[in-house]
Assembly symmetry: C2
Homo-oligomer: 195 residues x 2
């Protein structure tokens, strides 16, 4: 059966999300109007409400998708069994995953304050699951006598903080390649745990 003319729900839906992602990252959630998103997609503002109940849910959906993608991709990432190998896998995974979606990473950190408490807690829970994975690697390494560190939770924050910061300065056409950056940060992470 032929499709109704002008019906593109399976095409327009993803385009709305991508446009919102791009514009929210560039100007901030509050600064972007539904009309701007509609213009970017090539439809009228009213048509957006076929894809989201309101502006807030558009943001929530972007952030939730990003955090779920992060967790799913990390679980699928090849991981050795020894703590040092797992720490290297985590380091390289984090740098690689984040470098491929700078906009979603930026939004997921930046726009937390625009979430209602319920949505905030949902995103925060996903984020802690990821952080918890690193804490466990560090604790295992300490137990095996391979790592030396004072506080696994604070060290995990420090590692994630320094790895995530890369997105603020890395440029594709800069002095260093992605491989250079990965190697430098893996060396620094090893030093941080005295491995």
């Amino acid at each position: 059966m032929a499709r109704t003319r002008g019906s593109h729900s399976d095409i327009t839906g993803p385009r709305v999300e991508r446009a919102a992602l791009r514009l929210f990252a560039k100007h901030g959630y509050a600064a972007v109007s539904m009309r701007q998103i509609a213009t970017e997609v090539g439809v009228q503002a009213g048509a957006l409400y076929n894809y989201t109940p309101d502006k807030q849910m558009l943001l929530v959906s972007l952030m939730k998708t990003h955090m779920q993608d992060l967790l799913a991709a990390y679980e699928a990432w090849p991981k050795p069994v020894d703590p040092l190998g797992r720490l290297e896998a985590f380091t390289r995974f984090h740098l690689s995953f984040n470098s491929e979606r700078p906009e979603a990473v930026f939004i997921s950190y930046m726009e937390l304050r625009n979430l209602t408490p319920e949505h905030f807690n949902e995103i925060a829970a996903l984020r802690s699951r990821y952080e918890r994975a690193l804490v466990e690697i560090l604790e295992d390494g300490v137990q095996d006598g391979i790592f030396q560190l004072e506080d696994a939770r604070v060290t995990a924050f420090a590692i994630i903080g320094m790895l995530t910061q890369v997105n603020t300065w890395f440029r594709e056409d800069g002095r260093l390649s992605r491989a250079d950056v990965e190697a430098l940060y893996w060396t620094m992470v090893q030093r941080l745990v005295s491995a």
Copy 2:
């Protein structure tokens, strides 16, 4: 001579800046209206324009003041002459200064995208002066054979990234005191440069 009744320029001015700082940090620059700021200060919206030509300059002024305060405070901070002592001074200064003004720190990083190119470059230049100070400490330490690291600029970014991240999780009533956090991070910074 008696003051004109209702004239409070020396009191209201700072109150406008403080209200804007608080509200911009909480909700984001774009999400805050001049009416909200006026309500917080206790005046009508029109009165704000005695203290700022427009909303944009209110943001620029907050960010510029913060960066200049940062540089001035760092210059006044007691600094040893040896690289290791200077690195410790930088670490403790950064944690201490940032912990005292979380809102200004947040805004100065978060709202860069809302600046016109001219204002952005001005703020970015102040920021690099600060980063440059750390790079020089690291380079001096390498030259003296005290530090071992591959890339002084990337290491400086990593250190600043991990130190600045503290503001996102530290709570006054949490498990760790400020002194605990300073000690933990100073240990980690030393490890990062193999000192």
